[in-house]
């Protein structure tokens, strides 16, 4: 059955998608049942991405639609700054964000969406949506987040690693928070520091993603020989430590935009997953950092395999844990330019209001459907209005071919902060000697 569905997907995937886009209307949560499962999912098919529909239809997932008691949005300051960027930028034929006036890559700070008004008839609409997605992430300036990675097989948890993911964004910073010193013209620094279990401790990676056309620079620390080694760029599409995820898939997309061809496919309404129906207030520290709070206490919220008698997918959220809410999304196609990239076509489902990537479907180069991605999150806001919009509580990477999943979650920790200012996180943190210092 699974094989048949995958083949249907392979040959009918795009037409089915277009059909869904066509019939997909906006439904109020109040019109939805309390439970959508295999018995009634056909009535709500247009609210699912194809991969998730298959998972619900076969009984793997149970969906609980509901309402949220907050407006899921970006803060007003960010939206206002975005409006000022209208008409300033464009996408080059190579896929880079460029100044409209000069055609050059802007090697300076941009705060807000570069493209506040998306015209879906624009052939560059797909690339512009992705640029907006990036720049709403960059507004966090820097983040240090505990990120456990869980390997889940059909029986339950089989392995985990736990560590801290640290990022520094050199663009997208609010006025007054710019980092002027950027000699290597880096756009994003990323550092994954694995802290446990013991045999994996120190298997760290660090990447520089540049503002200009250069390929990423990647380093890996090899604990067995206590050395830093350069690694190739294609490793960004390799399964990360044998998992179902890869570096470019973090947050839905964490790679270099010019490495892909982007195309706008359409829009639809999907059920977006929230881990809490209520806003969780958070405290803003004097230096501007936002400490995160989660509506759960473990490494991730409760999963199916932890429910006695559960017959669905082991990695599916336990019934009643997640509130699914209708949200309107753009659908963007992503095709790798690099023939050595590990994967073929991707479909991204990007929130029209906040540019959160809720879902993603990934096909093999052969055209076979392989992996889907889903973001779960909650909404927090500080008294000053700073929000955690777009910061994931968990990202699920589900390989339907081998029936296996990997979960990258956020777990409560004292290190967890977003909006980390330059006084707390600078480019020095990503120097190779600090990489060495933190690795062993």
């Amino acid at each position: 059955m699974k094989r048949i569905m995958i083949n249907i997907f392979k040959y009918l995937g795009l037409p089915a998608l277009v059909f869904l886009i066509g019939v997909g209307g906006y439904l109020q949560a109040a019109e939805l049942p309390k439970v959508i499962d295999k018995t009634n999912c056909d009535q709500y098919k247009d609210l699912f991405i194809p991969a998730m529909y298959l998972a619900v239809e076969r009984g793997g997932w149970i969906i609980n639609p509901g309402t949220i008691n907050f407006k899921y949005k970006h803060e007003d300051k960010f939206v206002a700054a975005s409006a000022k960027n209208a008409g300033k930028f464009d996408i080059s034929p190579e896929g880079d964000l460029v100044e409209k006036a000069t055609g050059k890559i802007p090697l300076y700070n941009i705060y807000g969406y570069p493209f506040p008004d998306i015209d879906v008839k624009d052939p560059k609409a797909g690339a512009k949506i992705i640029a907006n997605f990036n720049w709403q992430v960059y507004r966090f300036m820097g983040s240090t987040l505990r990120r456990p990675l869980l390997w889940i097989n059909p029986s339950g948890l089989e392995r985990y690693i736990d560590g801290v993911d640290t990022r520094l964004y050199m663009s997208g910073r609010p006025p007054g928070q710019e980092i002027k010193r950027n000699p290597d013209l880096v756009l994003t620094y990323q550092f994954q520091n694995v802290l446990q279990p013991m045999t994996m401790k120190g298997t760290n990676t660090m990447s520089y993603i540049y503002m200009d056309k250069r390929d990423n620079t990647n380093y890996a620390y090899v604990p067995a020989i206590r050395r830093i080694r350069q690694t190739g760029s294609t490793t960004r599409s390799d399964p990360y430590m044998g998992s179902d995820a890869w570096n470019d898939m973090n947050f839905g997309w964490a790679g270099k935009d010019r490495s892909m061809k982007w195309k706008y496919l359409g829009e639809k309404t999907i059920l977006a997953p929230f881990t809490s129906p209520n806003m969780i207030p958070v405290e803003e520290l004097p230096d501007g950092r936002l400490a995160t709070k989660y509506p759960y206490t473990g490494m991730v919220f409760k999963l199916g395999y932890e429910v006695p008698g559960w017959k669905g997918d082991a990695w599916a959220p336990a019934p009643g844990v997640i509130t699914y809410v209708p949200r309107k999304v753009w659908i963007v196609e992503q095709i790798p330019k690099d023939p050595y990239y590990n994967w073929g076509t991707h479909h991204m489902y990007v929130d029209q209001e906040t540019y959160t990537v809720w879902y993603k479907e990934v096909y093999e180069k052969s055209g076979d459907f392989r992996t889907w991605y889903i973001t779960f999150l909650h909404y927090s806001e500080s008294q000053s209005g700073k929000s955690n919009t777009g910061d994931a509580d968990a990202m699920f990477f589900i390989d339907e071919k081998v029936h296996h999943a990997t979960i990258s979650s956020s777990a409560p920790s004292t290190v967890d902060h977003i909006y980390v200012p330059a006084s707390k996180l600078t480019t020095n943190y990503f120097d190779v000697n600090n990489f060495l210092l933190l690795s062993k």
């Binding site: 089989e158 000699p183 290597d184 401790k201 620079t217 067995a224 760029s233 430590m241 943190y429 000697n433």
Partner: protein
Amino acid sequence: MRRRRWGETGLFVFVFLMVFGVICSNTAAEMTSSFHGTFESNFILRDADGLQHGFFDEAYGVQQRNVLKFDVDINPGIEWGPFRVEKVHLTYRGAYDSIFDLAAHRYDIKENLGASRFDYGLRDIRFENDLREAFIDFAYQGDSGTGFFRPGRQIVSWGEGMLETLNDVINPPDQSYAMFFQSPDDVKTPLWMGRINYSIPRMPGFGLNFDLLWVPDIRPTQFAPLDSVVGNRSVGLQAPYMRILPFVDFKGLNVRQDVPTSENEYGAKVSADIGNRFKASLVYFRDVVNEPAVYVHLTSQPTAFLTHPKQHVYGGFFGYQLIAFGTEAIIRGEITHYTAYPISLVSADNIRKIEDGQLVLQTFLLKPMTKFTLAVDKDLRIPWLSKDLTKVSVEWLHKVINEWNNRLDNRWYISGTTKTRQDRRHIREQDVILCNIQTYWLASKLNPSFTAGYNPGKHGEGGTAMIAPSIKYYIQPGIYCDLKLQAFFGDARASWGFANLINYASDATFKIGYEW
């Protein structure tokens, strides 16, 4: 037990006081800590005559080691502007090898030689109770760059080589319970030292980093008990990881380490990042040679002394991310020049001299030696092997003795009526090709890897080879098992390469472990 020197003692006291101060400081509320470790139990089966002569047809156990190892990291949260105490790090390792109880009849080893801390007895390989690492990191991140000062007992590794250590001579190997290439980090002996690492502020396309070391803790390559008995060539040197070493001629002699513990080692490494793809380093290290240079004192108690001369080590290494012809690979290389490397002589050529009225045999010459490696790392997609990329590394290692003389050259060795040609040209230049392949299976539940090495041999000698396949299986979260095999093949009479290991060192290792 030897006396500690002021440098080593000073570092010990300094680190102890700092750790104590950090733990007792007023920043306890900001303090975070982590505690992770493993408990592993293994069994190693050895084929008595090597796999070349039948697959484990004469097998016996050489190790049943139970190891508890854990790390404690304390981040005290202490900051003074751009300065901070980054962490206090402790690594403990304790072990009990039950093979010396389970097969006591096979291993009749003296309990304690008692001569120096380096002359191991049975208790040293039967039990381990070692605070392997204890250091504190003082870090700086500011307008003048980044850096850290790390005093304490630690391991430092320099270089790019995969299997052979070239510039990586700082921490000597511990061969008392494992072979030199197994778990490279585990078989290194940590040393008390001070380390300063500093990077200048990054410039466009250019970064410069300095690594400075001062090592007052002098230790040599550690061997298992060298417990031979004077005049009796049929006993001693029975420890499992002694037999695989070329020390059989020591039987019938006292064997003692003579380590220049009053010396200091020091070194510097300068690394440059040029552009975003090229990284190169230059290295200097003032080295007390880890490998032994042996003098035999022919007295009424003939004794072989394993001495350790000093030498200069000059070297460099690089890594380059090659992107060309639609493909990508990492090219890396390393070169090292040693100024006084001990090269052993054939016994007929030992240098005889009289010291204090005693006849002394010098069994080596100190010669300059150069080693270099050139390697390629490439990720390959091999769908029939793995859904993941397969990481492949191929490395060419070349060694050359730079000065050559008659004592090292061809010789006819006459013993009684037997005349044997000792063609020593084999050792002048050597090549080894190494290959390592690793990937993941079953979403990383199975981690297979395969390492192989081949020395082609020269001047009529046959080649020698090593294979080391292994597979690790994660049974459930925190519990894993490991199966490894290492075997050696080829011309067992060859004078270099893996020849000495062919008949003695083919092992299969079964391991089960728990980690947190």
